[in-house]
Symmetry: C2
Subunit: 403 residues, 2 copies
C-alpha cells in the first residue's frame, strides 16, 4: 500500500476517535468535513477561499467530471486537483450515487435519501420504458443516460477505476450500487452482494491500473452497503473489511433516524486502523452522531447548496437571509463566527446581494456555511482530544435545535 | 473645496497627461480605469480581488442603489464603500444615464450609445402611452418607472444630490440629461441648456447638504454634454468649466467615430487643473483616444459583462472561451498576463467552467478582463511619464486589432 497512512491519536468511549490521515498532498486532521467540488470547483469559491476557510480536502464527483469535460481532459490537465488549482488532498466518489440518483431522477430536484428510492432494480429494464427511469443494472455494471443530454453511458467497476485513475484523486472509491432505504430486504441483500463482487473487481482493476510492485499512488476505499438492516450492514462490514482496501466509505441507504445505529454496527466491525468516510452527511446533528459512532470523514453539498439559496447556519439555528428582518440588520450572520464573511459583511449587505441576484451572495454564504461546519467538526476533534465531546454535543445541539 | 486634490505630473504633446488624484480614501494614479460596482458589488468579485487586480477606485450606480436596497439603508451602513467592504476611493454616477436608458429600454438588452436614442424627450409625454417608454422629462426633473417593478419614481438635481450624499462616495456627479447621438441639433441644445441649469442646481444642493463653512466631504463633478456638435460641446465645457466643480464628467452622447474629436474639443476648454472622467468607455482603442485627448478617468461595465459571457481580452484580440478550440488548451488565457486567473488556470479549465455554468467562470474571466484594462491604462500612464505613448499605442493597437 503506502499512498495514505492513518494514525489514531485518541479514542473516546465507544467508537469515536481523532486521527491524522496522511495523503500525497498533505495531512487531514480527523474527524474532518470534506468540501464537495462536484465539477472540479467548489461552487462560487476560489481554491484560496476553500483553503482559508479551513477545508482540508476536496471531493469531486466522478459522474459529473466523466460527462464534462471528460476524464481524459482532466487526466491531461494533471488530475482534477491541478486542473482546479487545489494543491491539497483530493477524493473522487465512485460515480455510483449519481448514476442511481441523477440517472433516475432526471429533471427533478435532487435529495439524497429520497431520490434513490426510485431506482430501477433487479432485472434489466429498458430505461425508456418507465417514465423518467434512466438507469439499468446488470451483474456487470450500470447503463445510464446523461442528465445533460440523454446520451447513453455505461459504468462498470473496471470503468469507474479507469475514470478515477484519470481524475487522479488521492483517495478514490470502489464502484457500488446505491439502493433506496425503502427497498425490500431481499433486494438490499441482492444489491449488497453485487456491491461486494463489484468491490473485489474494483480492487483488482485498481491494482492492475497501478504500477505493479510499486506503492499505490491512489488509495482505494470500499463502500459498505446493506440498507438499515443490521445483519446486512454487519455482513457488508465483515466482507469488505477483510479485503485489502485503504479505507472505507459507508453508503447512506438508511433513514436519518437509523443512521447512528447503522454506522455504529458497521464501525464496530471495520478494521479500526483504517479511515472511514460517511458519504453525503452534513446536518450538524448527523455529524455529531457520525463522529461518536466512529466516522472520520463526511462530505455533503448542503452547506453550499443551501447557502446559495440564502439559508445560513448560526449557533442559534439556521436562518434565511431573504427574510425581511435582515434588510436593515447591520450585524454579521453570526457574531461568534470567525469566517471571512462574518468578519467583513453585514446581514443587510447579504440580504441586498441575495435580493439583487448578485453572485457574491452565493460566494459569501458558501464561505460562511462551509466554515461553520468545518469549524464544528474541528471542535469535535478538539473535544475528543480533550475529553469534552459530550459537553460540546449537548451545548451545541441544545442551542442550535432549541431543544 | 478640499475633499479631493489633483496634481498633474507630466503632460504629453497635445492634451494627454498623467496625474495623481487624492481622495479621502486614498490616491488614484491617473489615467486610471474605474471599476464599476453597480449595486455596491463588482459582479462576481470580492473587494480583495478588485484591489489585487490593481483597481484603484469603484463606481456604483445611483439609480440601482436608490431602487435596491435604497439609499437610506446604504447611508445607515456607512456609505456604499463600507457597505461593500471596499476601503479605497469611491464614486457614484448621477443616476441620469440609467433613468434615460433603463427607464426607456425596459426588458431589452442594454447598449450604451444606441439605447439612449429612444428616450422620450421634449414635452411631457405619459410614459405608458408609448410602448416601452418609461421616462418623462420636464424642466424640474425626470419621472421614471423602475426597471424592477414598474413603480414610479422621480429624480431632480436636488434629489440626485440627496441620494448621492446618502450613498457617500468620495466623488459624485451632477444630475444631467443623457441624449441620443441621433437626436436633432435643436434637441441637443435644449437638453444641454437644461443640463447646465441642472448642474447649477446640483451644485447649490450639494453645498446646502454639506456643512457650510467646512471643507466638502464629497467632491462634485459637472457633466459636459452637447452630443457630437462642436459648438455645443465647447459651449458646455465653457459654461460648466466656469462653475465651481471639483472635476468634470464627459457624457458619451456621440458615435464612437466622433469620440476622440468631441473629447478633444471639450478638454481644450475645461480647466486643466481639474480631473476629467469620460463616462462609459472601455474598448482599448477608445481608452487610447480618451487618454491622448486629455481624460483622466473612465468607467465601463464591458470587461465584467463580456467576461461573464466568456469573452476575454488577449494581446492578440478578444476571444470567446466557449469556442471549441479551448477545450483541450492547457495554456493561460494570455501568457503575457499577470492576473490571478492567468497565473493559476488554463483555458481548458475556464472552458469547462463556462460550459458547466459554474459561477467561478464569471469570477475568473472578470478578474482577467479588469486586470487587462487596468494594466493597459497603467501602461499608458507610464508611457506618458516616459514619453513613449505613441509607441505603446501603435504596438498595442496593431496587434490587438490585427491592423
Amino acid at each position: 500500500m503506502g499512498s495514505i497512512s492513518f494514525k489514531i491519536e485518541k479514542k473516546m468511549e465507544g467508537l469515536g476517535r481523532a486521527g491524522v490521515l496522511t495523503t500525497p498532498h498533505g495531512t487531514i486532521q480527523t474527524p474532518a468535513f470534506v468540501t464537495v467540488g462536484t465539477k472540479a470547483t467548489v461552487k462560487a469559491l476560489t481554491p484560496e477561499m476553500v483553503r482559508d476557510l479551513g477545508a482540508q480536502v476536496v471531493l469531486a464527483n466522478t459522474y459529473h467530471l466523466y460527462l464534462e469535460p471528460g476524464d481524459e481532459i482532466v487526466r491531461d490537465a494533471g488530475g482534477f486537483g491541478k486542473f482546479m488549482n487545489w494543491s491539497g488532498p483530493t477524493m473522487t466518489d465512485s460515480g455510483g450515487f449519481q448514476v442511481f440518483s441523477l440517472g433516475v431522477a432526471f429533471g427533478s430536484k435532487m435529495g439524497k435519501l429520497s431520490k434513490v428510492g426510485d431506482v430501477v432494480v433487479g432485472e434489466e429494464i429498458d430505461a425508456e420504458d418507465k417514465a423518467g427511469k434512466l438507469a439499468k443494472i446488470d451483474e456487470d455494471g450500470v447503463t445510464f443516460k446523461s442528465y445533460k443530454d440523454g446520451s447513453e453511458h455505461r459504468f462498470t467497476p473496471e470503468r469507474s477505476m479507469e475514470i478515477q485513475h484519470n481524475l487522479g484523486a488521492d483517495i478514490i472509491f470502489a464502484f457500488d450500487e446505491c439502493t433506496s432505504p425503502a427497498a425490500p430486504y431481499e433486494y438490499q441483500k441482492e444489491a449488497m452482494d453485487r456491491t461486494h463482487r463489484w468491490a473485489k473487481r474494483s480492487l483488482d482493476a485498481h491494482n492492475l491500473l497501478g504500477s505493479p510492485g510499486l506503492p499505490r499512488k491512489q488509495a482505494l476505499f470500499g463502500v459498505v452497503q446493506g440498507g438499515r438492516h443490521r445483519d446486512l450492514r454487519e455482513e457488508s462490514a465483515r466482507t469488505l473489511g477483510a479485503m485489502d482496501f485503504d479505507g472505507y466509505g459507508i453508503g447512506g441507504s438508511f433513514d436519518k433516524d437509523d443512521m447512528d445505529a447503522a454506522v455504529g454496527w458497521v464501525n464496530a466491525i471495520l478494521p479500526e486502523d483504517k479511515p472511514r468516510h460517511l458519504l453525503g452527511i452534513g446536518e450538524p446533528v448527523d455529524l455529531f452522531g457520525a463522529v461518536e459512532n466512529g466516522c472520520d470523514l463526511f462530505d455533503c453539498v448542503a452547506p453550499t447548496r443551501t447557502g446559495r439559496n440564502g439559508a445560513v447556519h448560526t449557533h442559534d439555528g439556521r436562518v434565511n437571509l431573504l427574510n425581511a428582518r435582515f434588510v436593515r440588520d447591520f450585524t454579521p450572520i453570526d457574531p461568534e463566527c470567525d469566517c471571512y464573511t462574518c468578519k467583513n459583511y453585514t446581514r443587510a449587505y447579504l440580504a441586498h446581494l441575495f435580493r439583487s441576484d448578485e453572485m457574491l451572495a452565493a460566494t459569501l454564504a458558501s464561505i460562511h456555511n462551509l466554515r461553520f461546519l468545518v469549524r464544528l467538526v474541528n471542535q469535535m476533534r478538539e473535544a475528543i482530544l480533550g475529553g469534552t465531546f459530550e459537553t460540546l454535543k449537548t451545548n451545541f445541539l441544545t442551542r442550535y435545535y432549541k431543544k
